[in-house]
Amino acid sequence: MPAATRARWAVVVATSVVLVATGCGSSGGGGGSSGASGGTGGIVTAWWGDPQNPLEPANTNEVNGGAVIDMIFTGLVQYDPKTSEPSNANAESITSDDQQNWTVKLKPGWKFSDGTTVTAKSYVDAWNYGALSTNKQLNSSFFSYIQGYDQVAPASGNPTAQTLSGLKVVDDNTFTVALTQKFSTWPATLGYSAFVPLPASFFSDHAAYLNKPIGNGPYEISSWTKSAKMELRPFTGYAGSDKPKNGGIDLKVYTDTNAAYADLQAGNLDVDNGLPNSALKTVETDLNGRFLNTPAGIIQTISFPLYQANWNTPNAQKVRLGLAMAIDRNTITKVVFNNTRTPASDWTSPVLGAAGGFKEGICGQACTYNPTMAKQLVQEGGGIPGGQLTISYNADGPHKEWVDAVCNSINNALGNTSACVGNPIGTFADFRNQVTSKKMTGPFRTGWQMDYPLIQNFLQPVYTTGASSNDSGYSNPQFDSLVNQANANPDKSGAISQFQDGEKLLATDLPAIPLWYQNGTVGWSDRVTNVLLNPFSVPVYDQITVK
């Protein structure tokens, strides 16, 4: 979920309030945890921001709403909090003979917290609702692989059908899905929060539902004071394996990450995964080591506006390479981020693991700091298009520090203190408007937080022609066809090597420079133990225990 990513990093620190993108897919519990003790014990208070949208699963694309959706829902699939390996949760099996027509069987006996049963209809209705354009769901495009999406969400005008023709209920615990194309890893995408089931009350009394959403997950909402606090308590009828090990979670909305950190130090907050950059230097000693810094499925990049003629020439390509080499990633991740970022050398994330497609060094020399060669390349390429490099970012997020550091690094390499300058844009909304309307004249900040742990998610939505998050306007038919072949390839390792071949094209074309892989960070009070982060950098709430 791209949106989530940027937004998240943009805003979180700055305001804690806003658009943070979410780690969507993880179901709050770790799949791996054995269903041990029931929900006894104390209450954990945790940092939270006000969700940007109403809490409908298909309408939640940022981290604050996503955290709650993950806690109160468990979908067909969930991801292991440590290895990000997908495993069946509510699904008994998801099978296909041709990689295109899938049959989903549910585990029987699962219930929503209002007592109703989870059936195949709960899923089909929920997905139909999410896809229908008149329902204004922000994640509707996640259903675009399913047949009939063109009718429920036509490119213009009103929908000509109310339901997806590709979804069919077979019996209470079985439904079939017909996709528009072969997609061998489709089941692994189903841990994303848009794919969860919805109870009948969602449709019968929508307004009441929005005040107190009901799900089938490990927690249920016991009270919600909007913009202030949400109290979640274990759902005793939960049928999944990841049963909560605490007495509940109280999410507290903070106006500012610094305020949350002050509360954490003062002992008024138990779990804080919104640590401000300024705290990273001292967090280890402040909290006596009660701090976790672990890889997350987030990569930060700088994208170039290839739709501008002067950035889309062979010479400009040399300049892009030169700029990529002028960035001292090691020093910046160490000094500015205190090792909560790892210098990037491909376009994916280490949380995928080597088997999942992560491969160090695909980026090659472009991601290796070499100021001398950088200067030479920029000169050979005729200098920076437009004379001065401006790196745009949204000022309501925590980006100023690293953008300034990147610019200083480029300036030092080029020997010119005014070669590069940061260009803050007031709000995230304004920034995204300029990016999506292709009005950028220089490079700009981009980031990607995965929706589900697949290499496909790092490449297809961002770099294929016309893709939803292809902000640089990159278009390479060879890359597009490699991605299509990989999607249709039933052999996992074969598909991954095709994706990696695609990445090699990115290394020469450089539509975006990889900067660093972002880690998730969390600090906690001495009241609680066993605080983990999942690959979406969201705490694994159900595993937290209170002393």
Binding site: A3, T15, S133, A228, Y254, F428, A429, S437
Partner: protein, 307 residues
């Protein structure tokens, strides 16, 4: 008196319309808020169009303003993107901000007037100079610096007061943000009181009182201070509105979910309804405070009469 009040109220109407329109236009000029809802993903044009329609964003600006004002008179302030009505936000935010303002205001009055009185009575003495330097330093340091430093030292390091206020606002938790919010105005009040006290202490009515043999305490409190308070009250009255609107930074640092917090969030999410709704109430409070101060004048100074 009644005629005067009515006239003043009528004059508020154009000011009110002008301010709200100005804010409306400025927030609108920030650009389209809908794209940002999709985060990093390019918006789905169909869904985006539906959302724009829901919030009337597809209408021309003047019509949007008219629709908004029309709804306003039916006490409908609109909704935020996450489906909360702005009236419900107003209902949570204003009590919080009013509590904070009350604490800050009390601090401002007690210490501002106190310091000013001490300083004005001993013009040129060491206490006067101390107060002068102290107030100058307070005026010259931006609020966010004072806020962060005090929060860390008092709230975290020494643990004397709560570091943040949060949801349940207690007097104790509001003390620190109150001090920070009051600090600059406090300095102004102290300087203002000092000036008027110094001036009035040479006035004939004070000399007369002293000559009559009244005890010093009575002279200072009943004659000097009372007469010196008129300009201070003017300042305080107008400052009340400024405190509420100016809490943007303080509320953010101390996690108070008040007017400043929602205004900031409204701007970042470019939600016109939130921003204009909150500013509307702020402007009403500001205008009412102005009127109140003018009326208060007549009470404090019997020689002033409003026809």
């Amino acid at each position: 008196m009644g005629r005067y009040v009515i006239r003043r109220l009528l004059q508020m109407i154009p000011v009110f319309l002008g301010s709200t329109f100005l804010i409306f236009v400025m927030v609108h000029a920030l650009g389209d808020p809908v794209n940002a809802l999709f985060g990093d993903r390019a918006p789905d044009p169909v869904v985006a169009a539906q959302i724009r329609k829901q919030y009337n964003l597809d209408e021309p600006l003047w019509l949007q303003y008219l629709i908004y004002m029309g709804n306003l008179f039916r006490w409908d302030f609109g909704t935020t993107f996450n489906g909360q009505s702005v009236t419900s936000l107003l209902a949570t935010a204003y009590p919080a901000t009013i509590k904070l303002t009350a604490v800050a205001f009390t601090i401002e009055v007690i210490f501002g007037v106190g310091f000013g009185l001490i300083s004005g009575l001993r013009r040129g003495g060491w206490s006067d100079n101390t107060v002068l330097i102290f107030t100058l330093i307070v005026i010259s340091i931006p609020t966010f610096v004072t806020g962060y430093v005090l929060q860390y030292l008092v709230g975290v390091q020494w643990g004397i007061l709560p570091a943040t206020a949060g949801e349940d606002l207690t007097l104790e938790s509001l003390l620190l943000p109150g001090i920070v919010l009051a600090s600059v105005s406090l300095a102004y009040v102290a300087r203002l009181t000092r000036t008027t006290v110094a001036e009035n202490s040479r006035a004939d009515f004070v000399r007369t009182a002293v000559a009559k043999g009244l005890p010093r305490r009575r002279v200072v409190l009943n004659h000097l201070l009372r007469n010196s308070l008129i300009p201070v009250v003017t300042f305080l009255g107008a400052d009340l509105g400024a405190l509420m609107g100016g809490a943007l930074v303080t509320e953010r640092i101390f996690n108070i979910h008040g007017v400043g917090f929602y205004l900031y969030q409204g701007i970042v999410r470019q939600n016109t309804a939130t921003v204009v709704g909150f500013v509307t109430i702020l402007i009403i409070i500001y205008l009412a405070a102005n009127l109140l101060v003018d009326l208060l004048y007549a009470v404090l100074d019997p020689r002033i009469r409003y026809a």
